[in-house]
Symmetry: C2
Subunit: 433 residues, 2 copies
């Protein structure tokens, strides 16, 4: 990992968008509504198109990024950029770092005064869009502390984890159509629910979910496809990763518990999934690689990684702001290292049977909870399925209420070289009808 | 339903591509490799582009189909055509029928001799492509005889159907990346499998599936989107259907049975799904609407249809050709009417929580089996999970072997007005590695 160094862009040492990060996103502005590729740096989204052509052109970035057909920079998604492949994207990041490094501005930028606002869009004025066209979305279940806690709740500690859990990264196919970018409000879902206190507790009724929950997850975007029928070896899998996002897998526990046997979660999950706006490149997380949860089960060869430090120690935080309050309250803090399976293992497992992955496919890690109760990645765990309300100032919560805003945050690295994703937030609205 | 009438195109009365059908597909030829919209008629794929512009132009079809940007006719998918919406697609079908009807050719076509081969592509020379860009694929489980038979096998007749089965159309999110058009060979998947006869029957091993199966299904393509958060009322749902295909949900039973608790099928299903090349419009199936399996459970209001005849009586057939034989053998015959839930009910259920559907989304019905053993839509049922091999001439089958070609066929309607989808076939190849 190269030293993140100095930039002629003024960057707060605590900013999650240091020179060490350089995440990609899709941005537009009121003045120029066409969505295009941006790079977060300090308090700005650098509009990549403005330095790939025209009077402020950087020759190296232009050579790498401009002239593709269709254009990969003035584009509503990062798919084109991701499809360039790992080495080319690395070259783009290196050129960006070179462009932004040093103590004096490049000759193409006015030497003093404010930075040109059409090049450096203040983040407060940047409209962020869903960063990728997502073909298929797969949600795994690799957060073992979460899986164990939920298993204990429903089956007791002796049968908490299913027999397959430590042999393979359990996952299910999710819904890509309802994935939205941070800041998009979410409507509480309606659905079939059993009410154990009703006269006939085996007869469902249709109504708004009373157990709307979040799930704290890390997401991973696929960069390049594999041929159908051809498995991706686990030790090659990192070459198929474009970058990471924060992910909130909104869940309606009451809908889910009635529907999910035998084919898995459906309407309890498919109403909405929120991701952070910025996609962080794996190289930016390289300094915080660490070992995940130790797996005491002998691994099948196709899941055996040579690298031991196969997860990231990103500090995760869950905040909630209730409608009656101006203040956010932090309800959980944990680390993304609490995973039994790495993303390369998930990729290897997903393709062992020949399933084809495509550029822009999204993997969710599964809910990440730490070993202690304050590190819970869902309200299901925190409230013990509604039994123990959380105190939030003057109000209490078992599950989410209309008007609540749920915010996931993440940061890694040290001052001056911090790496984050932007917040992953969503306001809960009542059902539409 | 209008009389299908006569066409100046010579059509065998037994052809599944009568004037009453007019299904859409995506076709290319050696001479002209760009994929484009075709319409099946008799032994031909009518190249729609050739009669929407140029010297053979039909004014009405040109007005309806030509000049869209991007072009919806010279296009690699039917998504543009589907997105026109129900009324416009109906107008296109009416104009096609008008163009093809009568006893004498339109003035734009040479009055005698062979039909121009660039307009009427012989089906034997037409390369068929996947007809839609599929955003999300959802597979339901509405074939109750199948669900019951499989439930009996694993849980006995008293608990064969789960408590939710008659309350809601159970389904799961499938994998869209591995959906292929009829004729595409399939590689047998590898994966984790438990071997009950091994020294340690609880320890999985990784290898090729020994229980590769097919599933006979009807597929349904969505025409237009709903807003996220907004449910589609069941009695409006038919307006969201573009058309139907035959679907083979290839399944690896041994991989599936180890992986599927608690989050549902994954690698046991996601390696391949095959669909027929031709998408049949709902109007073509209107004459064979009938009632499905009676549901004795009180329905939630959002699932209550006013129409009673909510499924189709399409005659379905499953053929197998083994590598050692030139002959196909029919191993099952049934009807698509054997469903507990209709596609409008599946649409209403899928969106009750606000999940967004998009043009090109695909729904599978779930395996369709009739009430008798000869009507089984999977080898799992026919062979009672491998216990009773089927005799196929001189060979026997419990599950599929490498070199087997599995073909689904379907036909509805009477001679002169028959409606089919083209065959849905796939050859089983060994694993790639």
């Amino acid at each position: 990992m190269a030293d993140s160094g100095k930039s002629w862009v003024e960057i707060d040492p605590l900013s999650e968008f240091s020179l060490a990060n350089l995440p990609f996103g899709i941005v537009s502005t009121k003045d120029r509504p066409e969505p295009r590729v941006g790079v977060a740096i300090g308090d700005y989204a650098l509009d990549l198109s403005t330095i790939c052509s025209g009077p402020h052109k950087d020759e190296e970035l232009s050579r790498l990024c401009w002239g593709h057909s269709p254009c990969i920079i003035v584009a509503p998604t990062l798919n084109g950029l991701a499809a360039l492949g790992g080495d080319r994207v690395r070259e783009v990041r290196a050129a960006l770092r070179k462009f932004l490094s040093g103590t004096t501005r490049p000759f193409s930028i006015n030497p003093s005064g404010p930075l040109p606002a059409h090049i450096f869009i203040p983040l407060s004025e940047a409209q962020m869009h869903l960063p990728m066209v997502i073909g298929d979305y797969t949600d795994f279940y690799a957060g073992m502390h979460h899986a164990f806690a939920v298993g204990c709740m429903f089956r007791g500690p002796n049968n908490a984890l299913q027999p397959n859990y430590k042999h393979l990264p359990v996952g299910y196919h999710g819904r890509s159509s309802s994935i939205v970018v941070s800041g998009t409000p979410i409507h509480r879902p309606r659905g079939q629910i059993l009410d154990p206190s009703s006269a006939d507790p085996k007869q469902p009724a249709t109504g708004p979910s009373k157990k709307l929950d979040f799930e704290l997850e890390l997401g991973c975007f696929i960069s390049r496809p594999n041929d159908m029928g051809r498995a991706i070896p686990v030790n090659d899998a990192k070459d198929y990763i474009f970058g990471y996002v924060l992910l909130n897998d909104w869940s309606a526990r009451d809908i889910q518990s009635w529907e999910y046997v035998p084919l898995g979660p459906f309407n309890g999950k498919n109403f909405a999934t929120t991701i952070s706006p910025w996609v962080v490149h794996p190289d930016a997380l390289e300094p915080i690689r660490t070992t995940g949860i130790k797996n005491d089960t002998p691994l099948q060869p196709y899941l055996a990684e040579t690298v031991k430090e196969n997860v990231y120690d990103i500090q995760l935080e869950v905040d909630i702001k209730t409608s009656g309050s101006d203040m956010s309250m932090t309800i959980a803090r944990t680390s993304s290292k609490h995973l039994l399976w790495s993303f390369p293992q998930m990729i290897a497992h997903h393709t062992i049977g020949g399933c084809s992955l495509r550029t822009g496919d999204l993997f969710g890690s599964g809910t990440i909870s730490g070993p202690s109760p304050e590190e819970s990645g869902s309200l299901l765990e925190m409230s013990e399925n509604g039994k123990k309300p959380l105190a939030l100032g003057s109000s209490r919560r078992t599950f989410l209420e209309d008007g609540d805003t749920l915010v996931l945050r993440a940061v890694a690295g040290t001052a001056g070289a911090r790496v984050g994703f932007g917040e992953c937030s969503g306001l809960v609205l009542p059902p539409l009808s």
